[in-house]
Symmetry: D3
Subunit: 225 residues, 6 copies
Amino acid sequence: MNIVLKIGGHLLFGERVEQSLLKEYVGVLRELYRGEKWVVVVGGGVPARKYVEAARGLGLDESVCDTLAIHVTRVNALLFSHLLGDKAYPAIPQSLEQLREFAERGRIVVMGGLQPGQSTMAVAALAAEAIGAERLIVATDVDGIYTDDPKRNPRAKLLKEITIPELLRKLSQYSHSAGEYKLADILGLKILSRSQIPAIYLNGKNPENIRKAVQGQLIGTLLKP
Amino acid sequence: MNIVLKIGGHLLFGERVEQSLLKEYVGVLRELYRGEKWVVVVGGGVPARKYVEAARGLGLDESVCDTLAIHVTRVNALLFSHLLGDKAYPAIPQSLEQLREFAERGRIVVMGGLQPGQSTMAVAALAAEAIGAERLIVATDVDGIYTDDPKRNPRAKLLKEITIPELLRKLSQYSHSAGEYKLADILGLKILSRSQIPAIYLNGKNPENIRKAVQGQLIGTLLKP
Amino acid sequence: MNIVLKIGGHLLFGERVEQSLLKEYVGVLRELYRGEKWVVVVGGGVPARKYVEAARGLGLDESVCDTLAIHVTRVNALLFSHLLGDKAYPAIPQSLEQLREFAERGRIVVMGGLQPGQSTMAVAALAAEAIGAERLIVATDVDGIYTDDPKRNPRAKLLKEITIPELLRKLSQYSHSAGEYKLADILGLKILSRSQIPAIYLNGKNPENIRKAVQGQLIGTLLKP
Amino acid sequence: MNIVLKIGGHLLFGERVEQSLLKEYVGVLRELYRGEKWVVVVGGGVPARKYVEAARGLGLDESVCDTLAIHVTRVNALLFSHLLGDKAYPAIPQSLEQLREFAERGRIVVMGGLQPGQSTMAVAALAAEAIGAERLIVATDVDGIYTDDPKRNPRAKLLKEITIPELLRKLSQYSHSAGEYKLADILGLKILSRSQIPAIYLNGKNPENIRKAVQGQLIGTLLKP
Amino acid sequence: MNIVLKIGGHLLFGERVEQSLLKEYVGVLRELYRGEKWVVVVGGGVPARKYVEAARGLGLDESVCDTLAIHVTRVNALLFSHLLGDKAYPAIPQSLEQLREFAERGRIVVMGGLQPGQSTMAVAALAAEAIGAERLIVATDVDGIYTDDPKRNPRAKLLKEITIPELLRKLSQYSHSAGEYKLADILGLKILSRSQIPAIYLNGKNPENIRKAVQGQLIGTLLKP
Amino acid sequence: MNIVLKIGGHLLFGERVEQSLLKEYVGVLRELYRGEKWVVVVGGGVPARKYVEAARGLGLDESVCDTLAIHVTRVNALLFSHLLGDKAYPAIPQSLEQLREFAERGRIVVMGGLQPGQSTMAVAALAAEAIGAERLIVATDVDGIYTDDPKRNPRAKLLKEITIPELLRKLSQYSHSAGEYKLADILGLKILSRSQIPAIYLNGKNPENIRKAVQGQLIGTLLKP
């Protein structure tokens, strides 16, 4: 099965690189990979945030800030890719056309961002579409999608599943409190929708969840296109 | 003044290439250009639509359809660029990083699309952000933005100006009738918004409108960030 | 057996994309391909001709006209390549060195033009030489090579075979009525000659002819080096 | 005036690099250059011939032989370009599209070959077309074009001028004794013809001839398109 | 005067980006730059060190560690370059050949590392050689070169000048306590030596020192080739 | 076993290309290769030396001289690579990142130099590190490493083995008579040292020595990291 796995940058790249979690991820992926088209999209985490904050503090524009963050995601991707060793394609794609080329080689392709104005979630959706993925797995720092923001509302309940239109409606209600990339997340959702790709949102702090999602077990929240 | 001009593909590239309109555009741009950073973003028009329809008819996925369309926009851009002669940078950028490089050379940069999942409107907004444009001019086949869809509702009235939040609200009402790239247009608007770039929507069938917009006269609809 | 197949652009890309013929071609190629080095060279057809006519009408030079046509052949190649799915290499070579790299991967490589001043026939011959093809198959809109121009002389007879020197002599007699690329066709023939590659000219309106030519049956005209 | 200067490889690159002649060429060009579009196309000379002979002796095909020779022409071009110092664009174009980009920078562009199956004469003609040259200067080891091969027939007379059709007729008579690139020379001539670019063939052993040709004095043979 | 300025990564990129020092550097450079060939080589600092430590901790080899560090230096270079605004070339060279191209454009070129096995000091020396710099300025966190390691020996005295052979002898004495890149620093020194480029080592915590060195005042230690 | 084989340019590329020795090398490599990661690094030989001497004679700087030599090594590598046929990767890497990509394809990668300031010995060491080679084989024109320079001192004795620190000490004694790349050789040795890669120095005039070294037999001198 062709799969895209999006890993939130903050899970693996905090003030320090999370070496033991990285190792577990790599272990799970190496164990499960059988030569299909797999793409891992890695976010920028704390190192990216530091460059963006400095750039903004120094008066640089949003396009430059995004560009710096993208380059950091690629450093993260490079590190992740080398850890996968001979299971990974030994270069980081910098466009969807390159991704298509690399994905044909029977290796996991690891990538970061592509272009200003896009979250790595949007990148993951575009990657899923480009390789014809049957599933997008989104590893975050919560258990999935909730009825409300779980970090503010303790009574928020984890959803077993939700459709993209329902989620879009939910996001438009949150919009005034939107994080900087809500715009791009909407792009990501629309891509999943037009290409009918389901996504699984799960807690990435426990890499065993990745194993379950890859193997098709129920875990986290299923986002239905 | 740094400017991005987005020209709807159907204006210039219909069943045939609109040679005389192209000539007028080129004449106006060559006359007005004084070495600032100018970017022209050209859409795909009928040739792109034909490839996309065929690809879809043949069962290819949306990512491929977009890719084909992007390549056609670049052919259009190449033709436009050669018509500008020594006023144009002699290559078509294929990423925003390339755009930044080319835009520094005292030539008009002509470009088409960049990536699946984006309209050329989104590309134009990203380009405007990347070169620090003070203004985005959007040449369409109607006089600007209306109170309602002017092609359906004869009583729709042209707006002198509108803010991006107001326009976003309007678009969300239209959403069930949305053309295939409404998603990306939202991306374009959010980019304009975060970088505070005003846009002027005008009727591109009359290239004199371009002249007016470049020279700062009131024309069409002003979209305020 | 290593093979180059050159498909006249007008066969597949007329006013509309010839979807059903394309499908048949793809079906035949997917069925017969066994991992050898195969290259498909696709011409520009009507879309290319339209850009070239417009460019010429607008006063652009021959080098630009050719460049526009080349870019259209690559769009055609991209569409063809995606239809071949996992049997095709997922990128279009833009030089013979790239072709050599791509051709080693056990996939069919689809390509368009390379450089101004060359017909896709010349490209096909250069490609045949570069991959060490045993045979070049040329799919046109007539049954092969005739004793005279079959579209003018109803008594022209189809030749079973002809040598390159004989054909060159024939072409030099036609020369005053030469199409725009006769020059390059001569280049193509000289390449076939110096590398001793036979070519089969056949009627590409019937894709079964391709099957026969690939399988080594007699069909159309054999051009002996 | 935009000019292409083609220098036969054997003039400058024999068993040893002809340092003093190189210096004179560079001196003349640096002195005369005023920022127009100038392209110098350098052949491969003896070093190229040695690689080609070895490759052929080792059984490699013509496409590889040409590729090796092209790479040597680029080494020659690199050396020539560095000698021109700040008058030269500091990179060697590897395609006509790159040439168009580099030629806009107010520097002399130095290049070698582009593709198998082409002489540097054909490259020079394509370059002339691509930059819109008013004149192609061809520096050889004889004084121009003769009524017959001057190295065999002592009574051969130098022609003041000749038209391309006349020259083509002449070449077809020589054809059995044709050097290995006669095929490509025909391509070069056809390119000059379709783009109406005159060429001046002159003796390149005396770099003062270059000066005269650049300054518009009569010298060598004028080839009229 | 052509100049290369090498800035130790730790000066500008510590646990946080040193925004105010960066601003001062940029201010000084923008003020002094007059269109000559200037190259700024930026090190990796703390962010690079963190990636390298993690990579080493995870068992990756030295070549990968260096590659990660190089990518971080390029992120640093990108940020620095955008701060220089229109005084900087808007792309980061990834090879010396690219550097030569970029350096011709009348902008400051900012770059990071190039290749595993090299310190940014070696890169700076290679860059100085490639652009024909008259001087290499090395901004470190001490006042220059001392008679002994100033961080260990409080009686170490700052040298006004020293020759490269003398410095090499000194380094060979230190060798058992060598930092990880001593090997590459020797490469840097040998490059400076063969191309006879003097270097000025100074304290980069005070950007006014840069101003003095650029303007030719005595400051820090002069390393004579 | 992953292996890097460095072949001194003068062995294969003298005044003429050494066709028969080349053939023997290719024969041995084709026979022994089983799909592991193998890299062949080829030097520049006489052709490179001629360009360098001319460039130096014409007053060009060391950086340009090295660049010319690197391009010649790549021509040599291209010829070698084509001789290996389908056992070789059909492109020459121009950076260590490209090398990593090419080395994964189950083909021998042939390369020349990478960057000014490096001998091909340093390149070979960097390549060995980048692909994780277990062994570097260095084919020279003497039997291995001697107690003294065997070309000057007839009583110099061949060493069976030597450690890198011992060799470094030896080289520092030679330093006043150092060839032009002694600096880079030190870089090469330090790379071997930090990555603990043993090297075998042997006489490359007899390709059977290569066979022995690949098969693990004792031959020449073992350099222990």
